[in-house]
């Protein structure tokens, strides 16, 4: 009996320690906000005819920064409301998990932005408006999958959706549609519509207090 008792105690301790490391902030507002920003940005980019390689790269990098900043603002608002520290260990872990793919994407974008004019126009266009968004999608999927180890509720699956979607787009090759429509459309679909759909799903499934 004693071994059962001690082993059960150890199991309880292990479970509690794992639970302590899980990120508890509600993700529905973050996903919905990101989705709304993604869709609006895609429509605005299309409407404003942002079609140059440099323009597209700078525009979506800025949109990404706004979405990221807004997401952290929402998280901070939640933690203040709950009288909990914003920069908590789980928030740090999630940020550390997100960081490598996000930084890789940012570095690639800076290089594409700086080198855009040194390539032939068609090459620069394909690089910036076809391969770059696809690369962003794959890297973002890697970031979501990595964060998913500290976040419950299907985040890893969401990451895999991006990874497989981005890879499928690479496999399809260079599309025979106007680049403006394709590039902003792909960005709007993945960073807008998918986030919005996930946010709505979370609104219906996420418990306000996700302790369990």
């Amino acid at each position: 009996m004693a071994d059962n008792w001690a082993a059960e105690h150890l199991q309880v301790i292990r479970t509690l320690m794992e639970r302590s490391a899980i990120y508890r902030r509600a993700l529905a507002p973050v996903m919905t906000f990101t989705g709304a920003i993604g869709i609006l940005a895609a429509l605005a980019g299309w409407g404003l005819n942002i079609e140059t390689p440099r323009g597209f790269t700078a525009y979506w990098t800025l949109v990404g920064c706004v979405a990221l900043g807004g997401s952290y603002f929402l998280v901070r608002r939640q933690s203040l409301k709950d009288a909990e520290p914003f920069w908590s260990p789980p928030t740090r872990r999630v940020t550390q998990a997100l960081l490598p793919p996000v930084v890789a994407g940012l570095i690639a974008s800076v290089i594409i932005f700086l080198k855009a004019d040194s390539n032939a126009p068609e090459v620069a266009s394909v690089l910036a408006m076809v391969w770059q968004p696809q690369g962003w999608i794959v890297l973002y999927g890697c970031a979501m999958n990595a964060a998913g180890f500290f976040v419950p509720r299907g985040m890893k699956l969401f990451g895999w959706l991006f990874i497989s979607g981005g890879c499928a787009l690479f496999a399809l090759g260079i599309p025979d549609v106007r680049r403006l429509v394709y590039a902003h459309g792909v960005m709007g679909l993945f960073f807008g519509a998918l986030h919005l759909a996930y946010g709505i799903y979370l609104y219906f499934t996420e418990q306000r207090k996700n302790a369990a």
Partner: protein, 102 residues
């Protein structure tokens, strides 16, 4: 079976509520009161009482800070608390091993 490990178990930690608090704090450098309460599904009074006992034993330290005009109270394990928790886990493992070896 050698009963010594049983006798060495820290009575302060060896209580369901306090063990749960110690386990959470062992995995996180700091936790807010509400985080602990919501994760453990315990009442405010229960948590406060257990935290007080752990503080008196020197296992838990309390930090109060202000963020955005709100008071945030966080708890963390002291060095003594970490040591006591590690010893407690080691003793439990010893007990399991002893019984396995029988």
């Amino acid at each position: 079976m050698n009963p010594e490990p049983f006798l060495q178990l820290d009575r302060v930690i060896h209580e369901k509520g306090r063990l749960a608090i110690m386990s959470l704090l062992a995995a996180s450098p700091q936790l807010a009161f509400t985080e602990m309460r919501d994760t453990l599904n315990m009442t405010d009074g229960n948590i406060t009482a257990h935290i007080r006992t752990l503080q008196e034993a020197g296992y838990v330290s309390v930090t109060k800070a202000f963020d955005g005009g709100r008071s945030i109270t966080t708890y963390s394990l002291t060095a003594q608390g970490k040591k006591a928790f590690t010893s407690y886990i080691n003793l439990l493992e010893q007990i399991v091993e002893q019984t396995k070896g029988k």
